[in-house]
Structure formats: C-alpha cells, structure tokens
C-alpha cells in the first residue's frame, strides 16, 4: 500500500480517465505533487475528492460550481467526513428541485395525453414566456439550471 497514487492508479480507482483527471486539475478541482521526473503523484485523499466531484457531477452541478464548493473546504488539512457530509447535504435541495420539475413535466404530460393539444395558448406543457431563454444556449433545465434561476435572471 503505497502512500501515493500515479495518475493511472487514480484513474482506475476513481473511474475517471487520466485525461479527465488532468482536465480537472486544469480547472483547479484537484492537485498533485510531482515525482522527480515530473509525473503526478496523488495523495490517497484525492480518491475521496474525485469521488465527490463525480457524484456532484451526476447530481447535475457544473464543474465550475463544484470548484466553488471545494473552495469552501478548510485549507491546510485533509477534509474530514464531516466536511464532505456538509457539502453533500447542500446538493439535496438541488436534487429535489430537479426531481420536482421532471414530475411537473410528467404530470402536465399526463393531463395532455388525452387531448394531444400542445396548444401554446391553453396547454400547461408549454412555457409561453420561455423563461429559460435568458440563461444562454443549450438544453437548460435538464443541465442544472433551475426554473428559479430563470425567474431570477428574467427579474
């Protein structure tokens, strides 16, 4: 049991490819010491940090927001379980909101299946104000922005 991991070992054990780990590093999400020959050597605590990143990503956070979260960890010491726990807890409302939105969509869909209307005037499935438009390109609600964000942006 070595004290440090090579990038390949961390990759295998975290499920993130070496290229992905280097990318995370380029964004400041993780860090590594270097061997005499300039190769990355990871502390074992990086395993948990990468696990956190992966899970946060599955929850729907962008890497930028994950970086923000990681920045709130105490400096100078390895984070404790309590630290990780605090961060994980903060995802809960986000998940709840995303689930709620999909459920709304599903229920609206149910109430529309009978009519097949998709009417811009009447059907709740439609989003006439296109609130999401203010937030930029790409699929939005499904990628982490909440309707709440859209409303605030539309302010």
């Amino acid at each position: 049991m070595e004290p440090h991991l090579t990038i390949g070992e961390l990759a295998r054990r975290s499920g993130v490819a070496p290229s992905g780990l280097r990318y995370y590093e380029s964004l400041g999400l993780i860090a590594a010491e270097r061997s005499a020959g300039n190769q990355r050597r990871y502390a074992r605590s990086m395993l948990r940090r990468v696990a956190f990143i992966r899970t946060a990503s599955r929850v729907g956070l962008t890497l930028e927001r994950i970086a923000d979260a990681l920045a709130t960890l105490p400096e100078g010491r390895t984070p404790t379980k309590k630290d990780w726990s605090r961060l994980s807890r903060s995802w809960r409302p986000l998940l709840d909101e995303r689930i709620a939105e999909l459920e709304r969509l599903r229920d609206d869909l149910d109430s529309c299946i009978g009519c097949g209307c998709l009417s811009l005037q009447r059907c709740r499935l439609q989003n006439p104000d296109d609130r999401a438009a203010a937030l930029g390109p790409g699929p939005r609600y499904l990628e982490g922005d909440s309707p709440g964000d859209a409303e605030r942006a539309a302010g």
Copy 2:
C-alpha cells in the same frame, strides 16, 4: 389572421429564436414554403410541431431522436391530435426512468449524509463500473441517455 407565419412570428409564438428555427430546419425537424423573395413562410400547423419539439427537448430527447419520432408521423396530411398524443405518450417511460434515477441518487445521498464516506468500495453513491463511460463524452444521465442504454452498450 394570415394563413402563414414569417420566421419572426413563429419565433415569437413558439419561443424559439429565428436562428433556432433555421437550425431545426437544417436538421429536417421542420420545413417551410418560400415567398416570392425566398423568405420562409410557415403553415400554422408548424406551431404545434415546434411546440412538440420544445417539449420533447425538455423531456430530454436529443434533436436526432425527435427527428426520428417526427418521421413516424403520417405523410401527406397535417397530423391530428391523436398523432401528437401517441408521440407524447411515448415519452412517459423515459421521464419515469429519469425521475427514478434522480430519486435513487437522492436516496443514496441521504444514506451517505451521515457518514460522508463517498467511499469507492462501500458507498452506493459511487458507480464503480462507470457504466456511463461507454456512451461517449459529456454529462450523460442528465442529458437523455438512460442507465439502460449504458447497460446495453456495456453488454
């Protein structure tokens, strides 16, 4: 009440920018007649078609899959409410699956909050086989691929 819509009118009424409508057309999702001066003129039924595309997109389908779905509409006549209803109904399982996955994630999160472990060995929050990796780059589960897809791809 004109029989046809300009691209600007369709954009305002559908919530999709003109550039987006041209993009949809480039993918074969919508079509338009042309004025004497080569400007697009949309039949009113396009409103419903665009509404369908937007909603399907919110549900999490890629534009490619939406195109596939639209291809099953009868040719030679304007689709009826029944046609749209049939397509909408097909989203239901997809939505259910996406909701279920987020709920699983939330429940796993709950069971982990106490420990803060995020352990690759023990914690259900982790996804050790990284099933999603087979499907290519980018956030996956949250963008429309289902875990089922991943399992089939890994098979």
